[in-house]
């Protein structure tokens, strides 16, 4: 009768309306005086903000994002396989289909093991070669 995905479009349009209405109401009823200077400063625990917050960020987050993408794609590819696995078992071809899946997963697991061994899954990856003073004990590579 109707396409299953029409609600997605209607819901999106409606969500924008449903959120815009209270925001407009708020704009109309909220106090508007004295909106300047200190009040519009970034919050930094009462201090004057030190520079911009738009800084270069720790590369660790990008590595997590990269590993995530690989695994997310793995999960996405496994879902169609999972949906038809039972019917293949019923046809007596379960073992073959299982091995096909395992080939795919094992390749990715090897990559996962590589990332693990390289220490990219540790949040604090410190390799201070020439650490000294109070930093000398700071998680230097055990090797």
């Amino acid at each position: 009768m109707y396409n299953d995905y029409i609600p997605v479009v209607v819901f999106t349009a409606l969500a924008i309306g449903l959120l815009a209405a209270p925001l407009v109401i708020q704009h109309l009823v909220s106090p508007r005086h004295n909106k300047r200077n200190d009040k519009l400063m970034s919050y930094e625990c009462g201090e004057v903000p030190e520079g911009s917050a738009w800084v270069k960020f720790n590369v660790r987050f990008y590595i997590i994002a990269l590993v995530f993408i690989i695994f997310d794609v793995e999960v996405v590819f496994l879902f169609p396989w999972a949906a038809v696995y039972q019917s293949f078992i019923a046809q007596g071809q379960g073992l073959l289909v299982l091995f096909e899946m395992l080939m795919f997963v094992i390749i990715l697991t090897v990559g996962f093991a590589y990332v693990w061994v390289k220490g990219d899954l540790d949040w604090v990856k410190m390799q201070l070669k020439y650490a000294h003073g109070r930093y000398s004990k700071l998680g230097v590579d055990k090797k």
Binding site: S42, V67, Q86, V124
Partner: protein
Amino acid sequence: MTSALDYLIELLAFTGLDHSILVVLAIHIPALAIFLVMVVNATIAVYVERKVAAFMQDRLGPMEVGLFGFKGGRRFWGGIGQTIADAIKLLTKEDIVPDNADKKLMLLAPFIIFIGAFLTFIAVPFSENLVVSDFNVGIFYIIAMSSVGVIGIILAGWSSNNKWSLYGAMRAAAQIVSYEIPIGLTLLLVVIVAGSLNLGDIVQWQADNRWFIIHSPFTFVAFFIYFISVVAETNRTPFDIPEAESELVAGWMTEYSGFKWAIFFLSEYANMLIVSIVASVVFLGGWLSPLAILNIGIPESWMILDGPILGFFWVMLKALFLVFVMMWFRWTFPRLRVDQLMYLCWKVFIPFCLANLFFVSIWELISGTIFR
């Protein structure tokens, strides 16, 4: 089996409008109902959370604001009007946007987070027929839509131009994307067993056989991995590092005020409800009554407990219990460190999930070929 939407379209047919307009009109009704559910859920959940917190810490919690002159005093329904008063207060607060923030993106972020939660509800079944769209890829759709929110979180954190916001957003993004993998892999196990991505088919499978939580040892473990992962996904304690009040002020929400902040709260509690409903539908039998798992000689007349109206009751009972467990967690476990969080996800859950995937496939192969 006609869905609730078909029924609504037939109901609206008397207007004599064109069919396509009728469909769009009919969709508005469940959409508004779901919005109402989100608002009521957030209102009640915030109140219950404060009362549960108070109970666990041996204090009273909100007890001043009554409703319609109905004051409970020191009893549990003591400040029942508190969250309503809070909502009105948030609506009339002035909206402060910092001078150096990216104002357009800062306005866009709550919309994206809300739409992520709102659109997920399309596929969430409240009962057997009480679902907006019974997608044939229901689970897949829910996983996809519930991860839209992370874009909004990054936008909110970056556009605020505030260090707390940026740290909170980055941590939240890393945490949410990491825990999405265990969630996907545990739901995959259910799909392997049930052989369908449709949530209705999955519950039907559970009606024919048994609930997934007791189907095999591996799905039993999978339920707990799923539940812990969704607690992390919804940024609840003990995984609330992105919002850790004592270190990051309010995480990525630091610069938000007034109703935009309320939208974040609304979406957060809606997400809690969504993941709990999904857990109850996928692992705990959904709209099946718990009597079915007892597997004793149930009189035929008792089977009315599995009816269409009580189905809603069972789904919500299971889901709200899981929401309560999340609130319970908050006052039971101390917050994890960032590295512990990543350790738990990448070095415990994902290897366990991969092993689980392997064992469930073998289990199904053996039970499907040898013990047919």
